[in-house]
Amino acid sequence: MVQAQRRLRRPVGTGGGRPRRRVLLTFLLPALALYTVFIIYPLVSAAEYSLYSWSGNRQDGFTGLSDFHQLFTKYPLSEQVWRALGHNCLFFIGTMLIQTTLGLAFAVLLHKSRRGKRFLQTAYTLPHLVSPIVVGYLWSIMLNPQFGAINAALRDVGLGALAQPWRGDPHLALPVAIVVNAWQWVGFPMLLFGAALAGIPDEYEQAARVDGASSWQVFRRVTLPLLTPVLGIVTVLTFIGTFNVLDLVFALQGSQGNPGFATDTLGLLFYRTAFQNPDPNAIGQSCALAVCMFVLIFGVSLAANKIFRRMEDRLT
């Protein structure tokens, strides 16, 4: 206690000492206020709204878990929720397979390359700078069956048979969205893996080489295990990103996840339930969905974090 008081009495600006509580608070308060207004308040109010019945924008009585019950039992929501969840899972798996694998491959190749490293790193991360809405519209133009560059290019090189209705075929639409998303974000895992690779001492590889390991064995047995912490971070962030995906799919396939809900995701379903739903209880239903999404994403992220921590502990 006395120590704490002494610490508090320490003058500010003399180096090394902790600033006074009031000063700390003054600097923290604006951020905290913004965080409360834009993050905590909407979260708490969404949770509250999901427990009430609504008539348009008028809050009626407390109905407990009725909105959640509607979400899982009332057609078409009961069908759409599971379908959208399934698509989010596929989106996550597809993104891990394509985006993370490619990100890792690019990082490894760039780590070893001596020329053009900076240029390629910048090139791969450039699509980050563009809004997903713009990326979505851009690709929808390129994938257009009439004027689009992709089909035109395929026809020009004699591969006209491969020209597909990319956005209109229910079997292709979701994979196409996953690939476009990966095109935009592949630079992100690449940068993270790149930074981690730079932190691995060369001696490890040299030692393995002396023991007669091939390039693949060095990568598989030495490099990859050492990348586990980054892999964990990338996996969790990819999970959060793909389960919240909305803007890119919206720009590519509209709010209904065309064609025939083939690209519907939880984000799009939330948007439709909240803003394009003639049901008077639209707010209740959409908030219930938002709460479910939050619980799912938060819960799985925490669990995944723990699992990866354990994996890391096993390595050390």
Binding site: V12, K74, Y75, G168, G254, P259, F261, P280
Partner: protein, 439 residues
């Protein structure tokens, strides 16, 4: 030691001063941000009342300002402020604007039929019965602005949209094609165009609502128009009816005349195909005429109704129609008297005619004529052999909307699903909330 304490004291003072300045800055910023939020958007200054009219039509700003200028001339104490919101944002903005106890808009543009009901249930709108003169109006038109439960009127409808086929006159003349009167003529024309390397019809298979409109245009005669509509409303038939499923098939059978890979063609692509002269016909609505003429002033557009489809239950063409929306009064408006006066005026032929000629639309006000020869033709068709666009007018009151469910079913058919299964899907969706009146 003293010196050091002096120094630290000065530093502390300096920091305190900085802190105070910082806090003052934050407070000032906060106040600056908060002030406009407190200021009402409608204020009475200089004895004038400012009425705010909120719509989803930024592209019509000049037109509406011209219309309201005419109103302001006869109402010198009122200024009408036109406040458009981007159409894609409108439905997310409107509920919040209507919830504001002060400072919200006075008059708001409202979606018709089902999507209007939530606002009525929430008490966001002022009932207009007995306030506006709609004595000569058709019930079908007023239905667009009425509460489903209480039957009260909550808005003044402004425009009627009709559905038909737009065609490129130049292509038709070059190919020596006349607007077809029979289905055989129609398919022969399509074949001829296809052989000439011209896409016969531009439409979007990617957007369910466009496919639903195609169905109403080509399929209405096949399912039986308003007779079928009434049969479903009273529970005598449903959407698994063979005539209805055959009408779905009518649309997908036309796939060969739609653009290549129509399933992936988006709405703007279809528009571009037609306006760029790559496609000869465009099944759509009267709402397209204005924008098409604007983007391609040289395009000579004609209009005809789809001829009765094979096996049609109605042996004459049908022009389907629906009301586009209405103008209602915000229950929180601080100028209800003046707002009522304005919407009263919106039900008069003066507004109707001005609206029709300025914005090139079909006004819902009886006795007005559309401000465009093509629209006049479309409107005459509707008056002589009109049909209700039932998926919006009757089956747009619950989740899923009839229009969306039918469009999804047609999309599935383009992917290979049978018409019978598509009919079952439409029935499943609509029966989730619609109960027939019996009888």
């Amino acid at each position: 030691m003293r010196t050091s304490s002096k120094t630290s004291g000065a530093a502390e003072k300096g920091v305190n001063l900085l802190m105070r300045k910082f806090c003052a800055l934050v407070a000032a910023l906060g106040a600056t941000l908060a002030l406009p939020a407190c200021a009402p958007s409608t204020n009475s200054g200089g004895g004038k009342v400012h009425l705010t009219v909120m719509t989803w039509r930024p592209e019509d700003t000049a037109g509406y300002e011209k219309i309201f200028d005419a109103y302001e001339k006869n109402h010198p104490k009122v200024t009408v402020d036109y406040k458009p919101i981007k159409s894609t944002d409108y439905l997310t903005v409107l509920p919040n604007e209507l919830k504001k106890s002060t400072g919200g808009p006075d008059v708001v543009q409202l979606k018709p039929y089902g999507p209007l009901q939530s606002y009525i249930k929430a008490g966001n709108l002022v009932p207009l019965d007995g306030q506006v003169n709609v004595s000569g109006w058709q019930d079908k038109v007023l239905q667009a602005a009425k509460g489903k439960d209480d039957g009260k009127l909550y808005g003044v409808p402004y425009a009627l949209q009709t559905l038909g086929i737009l065609y490129n006159k130049k292509i038709f003349t070059d190919q020596k094609i006349e607007p077809p009167k029979t289905w055989a003529d129609f398919t022969a024309a399509c074949e001829k165009l296809k052989k000439a390397g011209i896409t016969p019809m531009a439409t979007s298979g990617l957007q369910p609502w466009v496919l639903a409109i195609d169905h109403q245009i080509f399929g209405a005669t096949r399912f039986g128009g308003n007779d079928f509509e009434q049969a479903v409303l009273t529970g005598k038939k449903d959407f698994t009816d063979p005539d209805y499923t055959a009408s779905l098939q009518t649309v997908t059978d036309l796939k060969q005349y739609f653009p290549d890979q129509v399933a992936a063609v988006d709405y703007p692509d279809a528009q571009t195909l037609f306006t760029s002269g790559k496609a000869a016909m465009y099944p759509g609505g009267s709402y397209e005429i204005g924008p098409f003429t604007k983007t391609s002033p040289d395009l000579q557009i004609g209009w005809f109704d789809a001829p009765p489809a094979p096996g049609a239950k109605v042996n004459q063409p049908l022009t389907s129609g629906y009301v586009d929306g209405s103008f209602g009064i915000n229950a929180h408006s601080e100028h209800k008297t003046e707002a009522t006066e304005l919407v009263k005026w919106m039900a008069t032929p003066e507004f109707g005619q001005l609206y029709a000629s300025t914005l090139k639309q079909i006004s819902t006000v009886p006795g007005t004529t559309p401000g465009d020869p093509l629209l006049t033709q479309a409107y005459q068709g509707y008056q002589q052999h009109g049909a209700t666009y039932m998926m919006v007018v009757d089956f747009g009151y619950g989740n899923p909307l009839g229009r969306d469910q039918e469009g999804q079913a047609l999309q599935k058919m383009l992917g290979g699903t049978s018409a019978a299964d598509a009919g079952k899907l439409v029935q499943k969706g609509i029966s989730a909330w619609f109960k027939p009146s019996g009888g």
